[in-house]
Amino acid sequence: MKEAMKSRIHLYEQCGHYVLVDVNSGAVHLIDRMIYDIMDIFDGTNDERVKQELAGKYEEAELDEALGELKELIDEKLLFAPDIEVPPTFKQKGVVKSLCLMVAQDCNMRCKYCFGDGGSYGQERAVMSPEVGKAAVDFLLKNAGLRKHFEIDFFGGEPLMNMKTVKAVTNYVHQKEKELNVHFKLTMTTNGLLLNEENRTWLNDNNLSLVLSTDGRKDVHDRMRPDAGGQGTYDRVMKNFKAMVDSRNGENYYMRGTYTKHNLDFTKDVLDMNDKGFDILSVEPVVAKDAPDYALTDAELPRIYEEYDRLTEAYMKRRREGRGFFFFHFNMDLSNGPCIAKRLAGCGSGHEYYAVSENGDLYPCHQFVGRGKYKLGDVFNGVNHPEVSQYFRESHVLNKPKCRDCWARFFCSGGCHANADLFNGDIREPWDTGCSIQRKRLESAILVQALMHEEGLSNDNEQA
């Protein structure tokens, strides 16, 4: 097949199903084995060659029929849809819409894979003052253009260690919402140790979305997520998470975990979370370099692929049994996903999204905090390296050589800049192992959505 055509489709087999993705339209087709074989050769015009090569395998009449169906798809622009270039809707300059506030660069846990060195990010342990927090809100509003929807994530370290600032910022945000008729979505990512009744009530009263960190099974969690004294934390945090989630009718949270080389059987961790009564779940690969005991490398890929197949099957099984759960990466809207501009921009780090360190410095995202050359300014004086910010803006998926030809480009949007910088010293050169995992995860998500559609299953969670 001509190379140009090849980069317009993606063909795969998973769990006994054959799938054809048309990259530039986003169309997903469930196909049979014959189409699968044909598409390995077919480029839209070479019918004769297809027939020659597959003559021994299929009847000519069947091949004609199949080719006819493929031609219909081409006519409907659902196959080999034309390449997409940067559209005019992708504005030259981004406007700020979300911030990550490192309200506490300190933590009461010592997770072994923490990229923030136990919350400190290689700096002094310190917490953000309410003044810095409010200045961050002002910075956001000042640089937001005409936008009306914003997000702030309270992050750390452990944000519950600095409720004083969390509360001050939240009150300030509510005041600004009224004054300016804008809307903020507030999120907190917490390890759960300090989720006591007082905090629970406050978080519910103020409608904060929660991201609850645990790694799944007790032994897996305790191995990687000890407290500052080295003790396992599983029993304590799960008790708190349960009370937290029950107190908000099982809504407005995500439970998320990290898998490492120690738990490549992470389907069990996902199911364990579900069995413990949680049904909005996410588990993701650890990102770590030079950590031979737990980091993921290419050597683990076959095992990881196998595990995503297993997770796909387990996910579908529970859906079919009427006790489905959400798995973040599988939850994809194939028909009404984001626009092209968004698919190009990805996370927006460094131009639409910034992290604010404890003292008010601006970084492209929370993972860059402490990487000196990426300090972009501060919340009091704004961005003083607009050229770096612009470089991030222009580092969209079509400007990354590896991504241009990758079938996942409009789903993945070019991967994580921080990971690319960590592994390759260049935000435009994605981390290969991460890409391989990403593509497998996307294949799984697409298959899940295709099967749900075919079987008439809903994406809503059945259990309340």
Binding site: S25, I31, T89, T258, A341, S413
Partner: protein, 47 residues
């Protein structure tokens, strides 16, 4: 069709001229914030 079942009605190409309002949620691509791939996101203006 006998050999192909198309499962979605994709809208991506039609957003070439209309998208870009930017009201949607940011989407972290890393592994630490329930990272989502952009493909997981709903559009905030086309509800």
């Amino acid at each position: 069709m006998k050999h192909i079942k198309t499962v979605n009605k994709p809208s991506m190409q039609s957003t070439l001229m209309t998208g870009g309002c930017g009201e949607c949620q940011a989407s972290c691509q890393s592994a630490c914030k329930t990272s989502c791939t952009v493909g997981n996101q709903p559009c905030a203006s086309r509800k």
